[in-house]
Amino acid sequence: MNAPPDKAPPASPHTASAPLADSAPLAIDARGLTRRFGDFTAVNAITFDVRQGEVFGFLGANGAGKTTAMRMLIGLLEPTEGSAIVAGVDVVHDADAVRRRIGYMSQRFSLYDDLTVQENIRLFGAIYGLSDARIAERSEVLLARIGLLESRKELVRRLPLGWRQQLAFSVALLHEPQVLFLDEPTGGVDPITRRVFWELIYETAAAGTTVLVTTHYLDEAEYCDRLTIMVDGSIAVAGSPGEVKRALGVTTLDEAFLHLTRPAAAT
């Protein structure tokens, strides 16, 4: 922990492979994943894996390729080359099966404002193909956890932002996905709500759900078990927050991020 940066072992520069000692099964296994649009390579042969139950940070500047990579991992975009196994399913050959096994929450929360809390849950439950009994059971568990049982008949647009955010998170977990993708879930929310939300992420991961999260708040990147920073379509560095900082000889992830992306941003 206190080793000087130059003596520390470097984090592997291009891949984030799990230490062999950890036998947890892989929730995401991406190999050489590539996406080109015309002659532009948005994602360039990225290789990384995420273990079951990990909180994995997916960082990079705007335009670095994070969203394109995430869209391939959730089965919305076909890779040009390479492969990815997500929740045990090949995203290239069985995108539909991947989508049933993952949850996704975007920065805009994707709830229906003019429906009540309960109606949103029923709607998304039906879309996921859950039975009425199952929807009732799951909504009880999830709403109790975020303290919204009393407010189930409220219109979503009447809820404070922080509650809407936690509700969107719960809806993404309705069908008990194995892997949860969070795309900038904390943008614009206040600092206390942001931290309460991260405690929800921890609880979820501790219960066995794998979480892959993108964020522009680099203090939040410190809360991840491992992370990658993408630059111009490639993974520039990968590892635990401590490994990444030691590899780059910096003391905060903020500095790590500036160090890696400043040259790219200048062009």
């Binding site: 975020i146 407010s151 932002l161 943008g187 929310v189 522009h216 203090d219 927050p241 500036l258 992306t261």
Partner: protein, 338 residues
């Protein structure tokens, strides 16, 4: 305050709500409601000429409504405003000629080229790009290579710079920017704030909002807002110094165990994750910080946490905001974590 001995641009001789000589913006007891939603509640503040003034708060704090009143786009339900010595309701035409406004969703024409957008804004304000170049030159230099590209095809950072050029081309006396850095990555945010700093150094008055607490230090003074109210107005340094209780940065090998142990302490006011450390606030202001730090360290070590380090630290603006903010966003029955 009539007994305040400090010389001040807005001394006792300036009545509340009236603009002193050096005030670019004076807002007095402004309130605004949209139906039954109270967007602003009793907001008073002054922005001095030549100041880079930040309004900091999360979504729903009222920042955009406040800026729309300042820029004459919304008539407040109650209270008064003076901007550049003008009344935004009565004198809106005169005011709009002297304002540069960059709304949160950049008002660019995506089907027009970069150059066409800039030409359009210059023409609307009765000027030319050549006349505006004195102000926009440092920003335009980065955009010029893309002058023929459609605005819709620019990267986020470049769109932001073009929107800034369009807001500045008529050499306004006041620049108003609503969340220019939201959703923008850390590197581009730093560059944008450097630009704003240079514009302020050139004499421009700037009113800017952001949800990012770490940007407060870039401003001369900041107002913290939450749910329509102003919580505090200060320089960033004075705001940090106003933190009333002993605060510590705590590190160790197990963040969750430390959170649980510190929250269980009867002397804890708050414990929050803060990047790689925890920020712990103790209620005992009468005890030496060094003694408190040793005590906290021992507490954690006896709970089995290894590599414990406890350091007394100065608060930052985020600490101050979190202490001042009420917590209505935590649902009833959800204080489980506390």
């Amino acid at each position: 305050m009539s007994d305040d001995p400090r010389p001040s641009a807005f001394s006792a001789s300036t009545p509340a709500g009236a603009a002193g000589r050096d005030d670019a913006i004076v807002l007095h007891e402004l309130s605004h409601a949209f139906g039954d939603v109270h967007a602003l509640r009793d907001v008073s503040l002054r922005v001095h000429a030549g100041e880079l003034f930040g309004v900091i708060g999360p979504d729903g704090a009222g920042k955009t409504t406040l800026f729309r009143i300042v820029t004459s786009l919304v008539v407040p339900s109650q209270g008064s405003a003076q901007v550049l010595g003008l009344d935004p309701v009565q004198d809106f035409r005169a005011l709009r000629r002297r304002l540069g406004y960059m709304p949160g969703r950049f008002a660019l024409y995506t089907d027009l080229s970069v150059l066409e957008n800039l030409t359009f804004y210059a023409t609307v304000f009765g000027t030319t790009i050549e006349q505006g170049m004195r102000i926009i030159e440092p920003i335009w230099r980065q955009l010029a290579p893309f002058s023929d590209r459609r605005a819709g095809a620019l990267s986020g950072g470049m769109k932001q710079k073009l929107a800034l050029c369009c807001a500045l081309v008529h050499a306004p006396d006041l620049l108003v920017l609503d969340e220019p850095t939201t959703g923008v990555d850390a590197v581009s945010r730093v560059e944008f704030w450097e630009l704003l700093g240079r514009l302020r150094d050139g004499g421009l008055t700037i009113l800017v909002s952001t949800p990012y607490m770490d940007e407060a230090g870039r401003c001369d003074r900041v107002a913290l807002m939450q749910e329509g109210r102003v919580l505090a107005i200060e320089t960033p340094a004075a705001m940090a110094a106003s933190y009333p209780l002993p605060l510590f940065a705590v590190r160790g090998h197990d963040r969750l165990a430390m959170l649980a142990a510190l929250r269980a302490s009867p002397h804890a006011e708050s414990v929050w994750p803060f990047g790689e450390v925890l920020h712990y606030t103790d209620t005992r202001r009468e005890v030496q910080p060094g003694a408190l730090a040793r005590e906290i360290g021992e507490l954690l070590t006896t709970r089995g946490v290894r590599d414990v380090e406890v350091q007394p630290i100065a608060a930052n603006v985020e600490d101050v905001f979190m202490r001042m903010a009420q917590t209505p966003h935590v649902a009833p029955g959800q204080e489980r974590a506390a």
